[in-house]
Each structure stands twice: as C-alpha cells, then as structure tokens.
C-alpha cells in the first residue's frame, strides 16, 4: 500500500487525514462508536402531536419509527420486524394504532408489544415468548424543549449533559417564538455523494466558505434572501462547546436584532411590532445577555444535526446528514416557523428556506457541489495521503477580545475552531489519539522550528517515518 493505516487521523494543530472520509473500516467503526453512542436528533414534537402519530427517521443506518404511543409518550423503535427483519412501517409519516409486518403478519402496538402472531397455535404450538420478541426499542429518548433526540446506548450521558453549554444558545433559538415552534410538513430529502462529516463540519465551523461559495447570493435581486447574515463583522463569533458542537456567526451585542428591525421597517408596522415583541419575550424568559444574542445563526449539534435561524424573520432550518456508506449521505431537511408570527412573516420564512438552503435553494446547491467534488478529488492514492488544513486562526486567539459572558469557547467569526472541535471529539469517540487543545502554529514557528518539523504531529501517531514524510509534503502551512 502507498500508505499504511494510521493510528491517529486528527492532529493537535488542525490537520486531518483524508482517509477518515473514505475508509470503510473507519466508517463501520463510526456507526458503532459515534452513531450508536451519542444523542441523535429525530425531529420536533410538533410533527407528532397526537397519540399514534409517527414519522420515520434513521439513527446511523438503522431505520427507526418515532411514534407517540397511546398515552402520549414519544418512543423510538427500530423499524424492523423482530422475526425476520422486514421493515414494518413503509411510510414516512402518519397515524397508526399498530404496525403489521407485511412478511408474515406479526403486529406491534405503539408500546412496541408484539400483539399479534398469525397461527400462534398451529405454527408455534403457543410456544413463543412474545415479550422477548417485542419491537426493539431505542433505550433513551429525551426532548429538549420540543427537539426529540434518541440514543442507542443505555449507558449514555443525559441529553442535558451532552448539549452542555450549547443549551444557553439553544434556549434563545427555542424561546424567542411567541407561540409554538411549528414544523412545516414536507421533509426534503436528497442524495449527496460525500462523507457525512464533510456536511456536518460545514455547519459546525465553516464561516469562511460563505462569501465565495455563496457569492451568488450577493449578485441577485432577491431581498428575501439574507446574504447580510454571511457578512463578516468584528462582533460576530464562532462558538464551540464540549462534545463537538459548534455555532457560527453568533452576535453578542444585538447586531442580529438590529438587522431584523431594519428588514422589518421595509415590511411594515406589523413586522416591526413582531420583532420587538420577540426581543421582549427573550428578555422576559431568559437573560438580557441572551436577548442581545437574539439567535444562534447556524451551527451543528454533533454528529449530524445542523440547524440555522438567523433571526425572527428567518425560518428555523433543521438538517440531518444521514450516513449511507463512507462516501454517500442522504440529506433530510425541514423547516419550522413561530405559530404566532404574522402570516406574512411565516410566508417570508417559508420562502426563504426554500430559496436559500433547501434542496433547490440557491445556496444549498453550491454546498453540495463542494461536498461532492471534494470527495471526487481526494479519493485517489495521492489524495488519500494528504491532509485537510483546519488551522485557520491558530495562534491568533489573543487578537480577539470576546465578551466574557458567552458560554463555550469563543473564537473570531472567521475561524476553523469549530471544525477542530468537531474532529477532536470525533477522534475521542473513535479511540484515536485524543487531540488536546490545538496548539498555535505561529508560536511554534517563532520558536525556530521549521514547518517540516512542526508537522511531526500532522498525523499524530503516523506509524512510519514514510508516512510522516508524505503527510509533511502535503502540508503547505
């Protein structure tokens, strides 16, 4: 082989082996050590308001049914018959008292009980322990303010602990609505030939791609779109928190609120009143500091749940990047609005979601072009021997004087801190050599070491000198 398998793929200083986006063994391990261990977003409670309501989703590659049982409890089941594995629910959403497997007719209730077995007497001599063969239930299901998450690991940390400091920001996003957060029916789904991490990291930290990848947004006469959200401002920050989560473009001094007021002025008195009311609502429910932050802009909850909400006049966007093999994903996206927003603002939110980040939106398609062509261009022998560079901002942390009340690690707007945090947590879950807090590149350089020597930890535990050389060669720091 051109390059041996490595023991570590993520360096201390923001370099990541490209093999993690292609290697089938790593992918298999990810399903077991990432997707089967962390909290995964399923959907919003407003999608299943009534007993019996359900929608389907995936946890890694496992298909699941998210189902509100007769008593109103949300449960998540593997969407597969315990007898011979047939998919028992073959629709995307609906309401059901029970599901009957199309293969041999086993039926399951919304509590997961095996309530019907054809020919129990003739075929099984009444000798089948129906409790043992109940539907496989995902052991942990918790909601955070209406956002439903599930975890396959019965020993996992709580959802609250997993979200950690991110909750301070999520609360803003979730509390600003005057009414309920109401998911608009219609989940958009598309295939993209890339690794799931390429999509997740894009929301976790990649502010840098906005001006160029989405440059066309600045060139069209479409006031509903929001390219201003993508503009750099010294008062916008990148935020990272424990467990790989990242937020981008977070405002601390009310910029997003002020931008909303400006936009609202063009829309009329009703819009101004609405925006001011959402601000008051935040002040009532949360802290003055959170009210100033006003929204979370965009971010990613590790591993594959991205979300955006630039303001009260913008939609809530939810995005799942479902892994479908090492180099394929299915993107699932849906949107929500504030149920008490004026109708005109709901319409703006809906249109903006469709036109910008969604499947036919004019921003989303440029992202997938990047994702797919990155994948195409890095799968070869040389391509796989090189590393990706996530070193932006390393060594310049002191240049920023961030407000100290923002939870998490606060970095500048243009930064790859989010990606470093994402891959750091990923490497920990994968039992690859853990990456301590990234070391500043500049300082090392000043200490007189050459770039080449610095790169000894390019691929932290490269198994041979040859590997290190190759990795160095690819590192144009």
């Amino acid at each position: 082989m051109f390059q041996d398998r490595q023991e570590s793929y993520v360096s201390e200083d923001g370099l990541v082996s490209r093999q993690i986006f292609f290697d089938p063994d790593i992918y298999r391990k990810e399903l077991e050590q990432v997707y089967a261990k962390v909290w995964l977003f399923m959907g919003h409670e407003s999608q299943i308001p009534n007993p019996g309501d359900y929608f389907t989703n995936y946890m890694g590659e496992d298909p699941v049914i998210v189902w509100r049982d007769r008593k109103g409890k949300v449960r998540v089941f593997l969407n597969s018959c315990r007898h011979r594995g047939m998919r028992i629910c073959r629709t995307d959403f609906g309401n059901a008292k029970q599901f009957t497997c199309p293969f041999h007719g086993w039926s399951y209730s919304s509590e997961g009980s095996l309530v019907g077995v054809p020919f129990l007497e003739d075929a099984y001599f009444n000798d089948l322990d129906r409790e043992q063969w109940a539907l496989y239930e995902i052991p942990k299901v918790q909601s955070y303010e209406g956002l439903i998450f599930a975890n396959m690991d019965p020993e996992c940390i709580s959802l609250n602990e997993f979200l950690g400091d991110l909750r301070w920001y999520l609360d803003i996003f979730l509390s600003r609505a005057l009414g309920e957060i109401q998911v608009l029916p219609g989940r958009q789904r598309y295939t993209c030939k890339t690794n799931w991490k390429i999509a997740g990291e894009n929301f976790a930290g990649d502010t840098y791609h906005l001006p160029y990848s989405h440059g066309s947004l600045f060139r069209v006469d479409a006031p509903l779109l929001n390219p201003v959200s993508y503009m750099h401002s010294p008062n916008l920050y990148s935020i990272t928190t424990e467990h790989g989560h990242g937020l981008c473009g977070v405002s601390a001094a009310g910029e997003r609120f002020e931008a909303d007021i400006e936009l609202a002025k063009e829309l009329g008195a009703e819009a101004i009143e609405y925006v001011e009311e959402t601000q008051r609502r935040l002040e009532e429910r949360l802290s003055a500091q959170q009210a100033k932050v006003y929204t979370l802009a965009f971010g990613n909850i590790f591993p594959n749940f991205s979300l955006n909400n630039f303001s009260a006049l913008r939609p809530y966007g939810f995005y799942l990047w479902h892994p479908k093999g090492p180099d394929a994903i299915e993107a699932w996206q849906w949107s929500a609005v504030d149920s008490e927003a004026p109708q005109a603002i709901k319409e703006i939110c809906r249109a903006q979601f469709q036109r910008q980040q969604a499947a036919a939106g004019i921003a989303g398609q440029d992202d997938t072009e990047n994702f797919e062509q990155v994948t195409e261009a890095t799968r070869g022998v040389i391509g796989q021997s090189l590393v990706f560079n996530y070193q932006m901002g390393l060594g310049h942390e002191k240049a920023l004087n961030p407000p100290n009340h923002l939870p998490g690690t606060v970095g500048p707007y243009y930064s790859e801190q989010g990606q470093r945090n994402y891959y750091n947590y990923w490497a920990n879950l994968m039992d690859f050599a853990p990456m301590p807090e990234a070391k500043p590149v500049r300082k090392k350089r000043k200490s007189g070491k050459t770039n080449g020597k610095k790169s000894n930890h390019v691929v932290a535990a490269a198994t041979s000198t040859e590997n290190s050389k190759r990795a160095r060669r690819g590192t144009r720091v």
Partner: protein, 165 residues
C-alpha cells in the same frame, strides 16, 4: 381554430420551451412567463393517506417561485458564482402524454408527463420524472406560462436541484 390546431399549437409551444431550457437560453425562457406566474414544486412524501400525497400549497415546497425570484435564479446563473452550474449542466427534457383542457378563451390547462436527464462535469447525473400541470395564457399568437405545478414522482431527490425543472 379547430381542436387539433390548438393541440398542435400548445404542443409546439411546450416543446420549444423545453428546447430553450435545454439550450440554457434562460433570458429567452423568462420571456415565456406570465408576469403573475407561480412556479410550484411540492415535496413528495410517502403517506398512508391519499389526500396528503400532494400537500397543501402553504406547506414546504421545493420551489414556490414568482416571476421576481425566477428572474433572480437566472441572474444567479449569469453571476459567474453559480458554482453548482459552472460549467452549466447538459439537460434533456422529454415531454409526453400531453392533454389539453380549454378553460376559457384565453386560458388552457395542459397536463403532461416529463423526464429530465441532467449530466454535468464527468459523472454527475440525475433524472427527474413526474407530471406537470400548466396553465397557459394566450398572448397574441403565442402563449405565456401563468401557472406551473410540477409533481415529481421521487420522494428522495437524486441530488440538490441546480436546474429548472
């Protein structure tokens, strides 16, 4: 005008429109649109109830564009920064099963099936298949598209949609 004259004229209009889109002559295409056009492509999902098959128009769609935003999409394609369409895709639009219902002196409703093949770069490929309901409005000797509803058969799209369907 006989019924078959009308059928011929409408079919020729739709075939010409498809050719203009395949040739990426977007500015010419915009000229075929009525100023009040609504261009709507709902999301398809698999449900156990027939009435939710095609969702209510107020819910999330793939496209729900007016003339202004269709112009913005074309502007984007000309911007030099439409990376997903640079270089532009090669597309082929096949229309069939065209049926025409005359609604009034100036309006016709046209049903058709379509298959759109898209390819770009080396191996990027997609196919979009579905049916369409158009309302065409008489404009002198030709027509303008006043309303377009596109019902894709696919729930899972082959990729993000970078072309006009």
């Amino acid at each position: 005008m006989t019924a078959s004259d009308l059928v011929y004229e409408v079919e020729q209009f739709l075939f010409r429109e498809a050719r203009i889109l395949d040739a990426a002559q977007y500015d010419d295409w915009l000229k075929l649109l009525d100023k009040d056009i609504r261009y709507w492509v709902p999301v398809r999902e698999t449900s156990d109830t027939a009435e939710t098959d095609v969702r209510d128009i107020t819910e999330m769609a793939l496209f729900d564009d007016d003339l202004d935003f269709l112009k913005a999409r074309v502007q984007r394609l000309h911007s030099g920064l439409a990376h997903a369409e640079t270089p532009i895709s090669r597309t082929r639009r096949m229309l069939s099963n065209i049926e025409i219902e005359k609604s009034s002196k100036t309006l016709v409703t046209v049903f058709c099936n379509f298959l759109i093949y898209q390819t770009r770069l080396e191996r990027t490929e997609a196919m979009y298949v579905g049916r369409r309901e158009d309302i065409l409005k008489r404009a002198g000797k030709s027509w303008r598209i006043k309303n377009r509803k596109i019902f894709l058969d696919q729930t899972l799209l082959p990729r993000t949609v970078s072309i006009l369907l």
